[in-house]
């Protein structure tokens, strides 16, 4: 590991100033569960690490103007067990309870996870299915970005060098939301081979609006607009679900790695999209 200096700001503004002052040589560190292994592997070697653990505002989980606001420094454990999150964004709580192992969930944070944008991360699919927004702090103040646009490429995000992810906002969900997150992996501690989150607004047996989000099967997590179009305005029966699963599979752009081949992942998209939809709709 390269040497670095460790700075510990106590406000978000101070952290942003430090990043700007050492632009190009500094990295923010949250729980360190992704970054420390990367530092040790010398994949990154910043001269300054900006530790965000002493900024209380970034660790809060709160209701703000009808939205649920989760601070980027809230740990996976805190998000998974928060009564507010379980009540308003249950599929996010479920997904957070499946990240890594207990030790990773104890220190790792929601924000750190999103900022690394690792393929197969658990939180992005439920957040995309719930229509979440990233609140990004920078030198000019905060800016908001639909979370879908936050993930820009393999391990890349829309964050500039002098910006930090401050919060994730989740809007109020329609009543009668049918939602589910399913994760396929071989070992409990692994990231997903395929992760599927679905959120369906059902009215009178018809799916008024559908969001279907996939992780692990492309360079970035994404919403399957094809699957959503199949479901929207239709009665979600077996045939519609089958078509939606096929549409999701057609949109997947998976890579091969040690855990699964691209072909296998693509096939599993159909299987797990079907399961997620059936689970959300109480069809077994």
């Amino acid at each position: 590991m390269e040497d670095f200096e460790y700075l510990k700001p106590t406000t978000t503004a101070e952290a942003v100033n430090m990043l700007a002052q050492h632009s190009g040589e500094a990295r923010a560190i949250a729980g360190g569960q992704s970054l420390i292994p990367m530092l040790r592997a010398r994949l990154v070697g910043p001269a300054y690490l900006i530790g965000l653990e002493a900024i209380p505002d970034l660790a809060r989980i709160q209701a703000v103007d009808g939205s649920l606001r989760i601070g980027a420094m809230a740990t996976h454990l805190e998000v998974a067990t928060s009564a507010l999150v379980r009540q308003r964004a249950s599929i996010l709580a479920e997904a957070e309870g499946l990240v890594g192992s207990p030790a990773v969930r104890n220190l790792g944070t929601l924000g750190g996870n999103l900022c690394h944008n690792e393929v197969g991360a658990d939180p992005p699919p439920p957040l995309l299915a719930l229509g979440a927004t990233a609140v990004i702090a920078g030198p000019g103040g905060d800016r908001k970005l639909p979370l879908e646009q936050f993930f820009t490429g393999f391990l890349e995000t829309a964050l500039a060098e002098d910006e930090i992810l401050a919060y994730v906002d989740i809007p109020a969900q329609p009543p009668g939301l049918a939602s589910a997150y399913v994760k396929y992996r071989l070992r409990a501690v692994d990231r997903s081979i395929v992760g599927v989150a679905v959120a369906l607004a059902i009215e009178g047996g018809v799916c008024r609006e559908a969001k279907v989000a996939l992780g692990g099967v492309g360079p970035v997590p994404f919403r399957s607009r094809g699957a959503e179009a199949v479901l929207s305005g239709n009665h979600p029966d077996e045939r519609t679900i089958e078509q939606a699963a096929g549409a999701a599979m057609a949109e997947a752009r998976p890579m091969s790695d040690a855990h699964a081949s691209a072909d296998y992942r693509r096939k599993m998209v159909a299987v797990f999209t079907r399961r997620a939809l059936k689970h959300a709709l109480g069809m077994g």
Binding site: Q33, I36, A103, N106
Partner: protein, 156 residues
Amino acid sequence: MATRQQVQLNVNGEVYDLEVPPKRLLLDVLRDDLGLTGARRGCEDGFCGACTVLLDGKAVHSCSVLAVRAAGHQVLTIEGLAQNGKLHPIQEAFIQHGAIQCGYCTPGMILAARALLDVNPHPMEQDVRWGLTGNLCRCTGYVKIVEAVLAAASGQ
């Protein structure tokens, strides 16, 4: 650059004032600076759990925590678990149930079990298995380990 930073660590109830480079891992401080070798160096990637210690009562991988980050928090290693020369009930249960083979994973297993039982004193078998998902045993001794944790929970 290699600046050093003052760090006060509370390990097993003892306070240590140390000067460390910011990149120093908690695992290295425990093993090399304090001689507490119960935390084992395994995968160094946050997967195997051999380096598990408790930070404010919660299991963490000490290979993935900077010493500067642990400053001001309570660290518990396997060396601090026995009280007044008497083994902790989980340690006793591991011995009684033969839940140890080579022993490399054992400190991490026991500390992860302790953190689990602190939160859930009466777990079902599946809770124990889930609570130990971050700890690998390469002797394939999981059955006896789970039995030992369940026995410790039930006071046997």
